[in-house]
């Protein structure tokens, strides 16, 4: 079975009563999220409340960790991505991911893109593909003279943009970003944030961040995650447009958190 490509659904990714388990431990409880097309959705919250865990279930990366399982439903264009006949490889092809620590392949800059598109059967001009992808990631001008140097020879921020270029080279619909700027300095962070604004025209982006200013700056929607009352399991306590979350939160805990009064 192939994934739907239709854009009829207003929401690209939806979760319905999603519980996420590590073995018998329920890490995330009862998440209902709707990720809007061509928008940036931020997931914020304190450490250890399950933000990254939640993000990884959106493209089934969670299955690469031992003993994980979910209850509930995650849909992509209305289709359950955990259905038996769905291949997780295809899910990850349509829903790309950028990680917290920049992780270019230990290959040349060129080959980072080329390998990625080649495994998906890309037949067109490779030079064009590499140039386009790097340009979209705002990296082309910095690396065009050293395409055959190692991806690891770049600075942290450049490496992260290379990872973004690699992710968008195969034209996914959604890009998941797990704290993409947390290992970078403010200037590199700014570049990534500017890039996100550009990418939003063509892609749907979900970003996990520790940095509330970043969420406020880049995102259209924000999901606030927090541990439940018994402090055992994370959940989304509030989900709304970003300016509403930051200026007029409904939940007291959200207000405490975004205003820095969280104790």
């Amino acid at each position: 079975m192939t994934m739907n490509n239709d854009s009829d659904h207003k929401y690209v990714i939806e979760t319905h009563d999603l519980d996420i388990y590590y073995g018998t431990f329920k890490a995330v409880t009862g998440v209902n999220l709707k990720v809007e097309r061509n928008a940036i959705t931020a997931i914020i919250g304190p450490s250890g409340c399950g933000k990254s865990t939640l993000l990884r279930t959106f493209n089934r990366m969670n299955e690469l960790y031992a003993n994980t399982s979910i209850k509930g439903e995650v849909t992509f264009n209305g289709q359950d991505i955990y259905a038996k006949d769905v291949d997780p490889v295809e899910v990850r092809y349509r829903i790309g991911m950028v990680f917290q620590k920049p992780n270019p392949f230990p290959k040349s800059i060129y080959e980072n893109i080329a390998w990625t598109v080649r495994i998906h059967g890309y037949k067109g001009s490779m030079d064009e593909m590499v140039e386009n992808s790097l340009q979209q990631a705002a990296l082309w001008d910095e690396v065009k003279d050293k395409l055959h140097q190692s991806g690891l020879s770049l600075s942290g921020g450049q490496q992260q943009r290379l990872c973004i270029a690699r992710a968008i080279s195969i034209k996914p619909e959604v890009i998941l970003m797990d704290e993409p700027a947390s290992a970078l300095d403010p200037i590199a962070t700014l570049k990534i944030e500017e890039l996100l604004h550009e990418l939003k025209k063509n892609y749907t982006i979900v970003i996990v961040t520790h940095n509330m200013q970043q969420a406020a700056r880049v995102s259209d929607y924000t999901a606030m995650m927090m541990l439940t009352e018994d402090r055992r399991s994370g959940t989304v306590i509030e989900f709304n447009e970003t300016n509403r979350i930051f200026t007029n939160p409904k939940d007291k805990r959200t207000e405490d958190y975004v205003t820095g009064r969280f104790g």
Binding site: N59, M61, L64, A66, V89, E90, R92, Y93, R94, G96, M97, V98, F99, K101, N103, P104, F105, P106, K107, S108, W115, T116, I119, H120, Q149, S150, G151, L152, S153, C163, R166, A167, I170
Partner: protein, 413 residues
């Protein structure tokens, strides 16, 4: 010494802590020194045996073979061939001619045959390097007194001739070519069996096998197998390769008629037995190398929609390869030095023809060394010392080439 401010409630024990550190430092250094001394002693012992004085007597006086005043070594090839033909039995002469026709042999080669077959020097005394250096005069005096006709030479047992000659029962003409070729053939089949299977098993266990009871039992048993004494693998090899699969290991299924009556005690059996022996070591090392590939790299690959196999082939294996090769180098080095399992599998102790196919009888360097050291005559111990040097050189050069190969792989971005 500067006074250290002591906070109340804490003792000033920095000196004591430093002293303890220095003590351990010296202890560790001492253990290294012990190891190095042992190694040097070993090397000296080997070198001591491989060089020294040899006294030998000719069984037939070479002067008696001179013709018209021309000493035997200056005679023409034709004269020497005629000499051989007249003095050797016709069977022995024809055998030599069959091995390599006399027309194709040079004068030097024929002269060597005359020396080996007719003059037949016999060793009457052997001295190690140390006495040869320190008591040369006494040695000369002893030889002159006990064996007035003997010739005394300072020799190196390790010569080019020693390496290129086949095994014989005469210490002066014995060589290790048969054993070197046997070792190389054997190790070839060891690698052919153990590397692909070991790597395959490691990939399966690390990347594909789920964490269940069965796989944990398999894993534990592989770890245990790595510690099984090698002679037990010899018995296993004897049962499987020599007996059960005799038709295969003797080449019968390939239509070969076995003229050497190896009955399955062939290069192939030996190589596969050693292959089984090192298989667990290769698996464990490869698993560790694969496990050391960082998760972030796997994530990167899966994150762009690569399949498991694409991830393993393009990222995990290239990154694990240096480690896998290091493990294989260690395992193969061990296999080259193994003796016990090959004794059980049926290494030949005395063969003079080279192994030339997987179905040949074989001997290997360690077997040859073992056999020579168990002889009562001193001269064979010198031969063993020379073979040990040959074995070490082969081992080191195989390791060096494997390390070069590994460095090529690890020249990464």
């Amino acid at each position: 010494m500067r006074e250290i401010a002591v906070v109340e409630g804490f003792a000033n024990n920095l000196d004591a802590r430093n002293r303890r550190g220095v003590m351990w430092h010296m202890l560790f250094q001492a253990s290294t020194v012990v190891g190095i001394i042992a190694l040097i002693a070993l090397m000296l012992n080997i070198i001591d045996g491989a060089f020294g004085y040899v006294a030998y007597e000719a069984s037939v006086d070479p002067d008696s073979l001179a013709v018209n005043g021309i000493p035997v070594q200056d005679q023409s090839k034709e004269q020497l061939v005629a000499l051989l033909q007249s003095k050797l039995s016709s069977g022995a002469y024809n055998k030599l001619n069959n091995e390599k026709p006399f027309v194709n042999r040079s004068q030097a080669e024929v002269y060597q045959l005359v020396v080996d077959r007719m003059i037949r020097p016999k060793i009457v005394g052997v001295w190690n390097l140390w006495p040869s250096l320190t008591q040369a005069d006494e040695i000369r005096a002893t030889v002159a007194k006990d064996h007035p006709k003997a010739e005394l030479d300072f020799v190196s047992w390790l010569t080019t001739n020693f390496i290129v000659r086949p095994q014989t029962s005469e210490p002066l003409t014995a060589g290790v070519r048969t054993a070197i070729l046997g070792s190389l053939w054997t190790i070839l089949f060891t690698i052919l069996l153990a590397f692909p299977i070991g790597l395959g098993a490691a990939i399966y266990l690390e990347e594909y096998a789920s964490d269940n009871r069965l796989n944990r039992i398999i894993q534990t048993n592989i770890n245990n197998l790595a510690g099984v004494p090698s002679i037990i693998y010899g018995i296993l090899g004897l049962a499987i390769f020599v007996r059960t699969l005799e038709a295969l290991t003797s080449g019968e299924v390939f239509g070969l008629v076995d003229p050497t009556t190896a009955n399955g005690r062939t290069v192939l059996s030996a190589g596969f037995t050693l292959g089984l022996l090192v298989l667990p070591i290769i698996i464990i090392n490869a698993q560790e190398a694969i496990r050391a590939v960082p998760r972030s790299l796997r994530n990167a690959s899966f994150g762009v929609g690569a399949t498991k196999w694409q991830t393993v082939w393009s990222h995990v294996l290239p990154n694990a390869m240096p480690g896998i090769l290091t493990g294989t180098i260690l395992a193969v080095s061990r296999a080259i030095g193994e003796t016990a399992p090959l004794v059980v599998v049926g290494a030949s102790t005395a063969i003079s023809f080279d192994p030339n196919s997987p179905f040949s009888k074989f001997t290997t360097l360690p077997i040859q060394i073992y056999q020579w050291t168990s002889r009562p005559q001193d001269e064979f111990r010198s031969l063993a010392a020379a073979s040990i040097i040959v074995l070490l050189i082969i081992l080191l050069s195989l390791n060096a080439s494997a390390i070069l190969l590994r460095n090529r792989f690890s020249r990464r971005f």
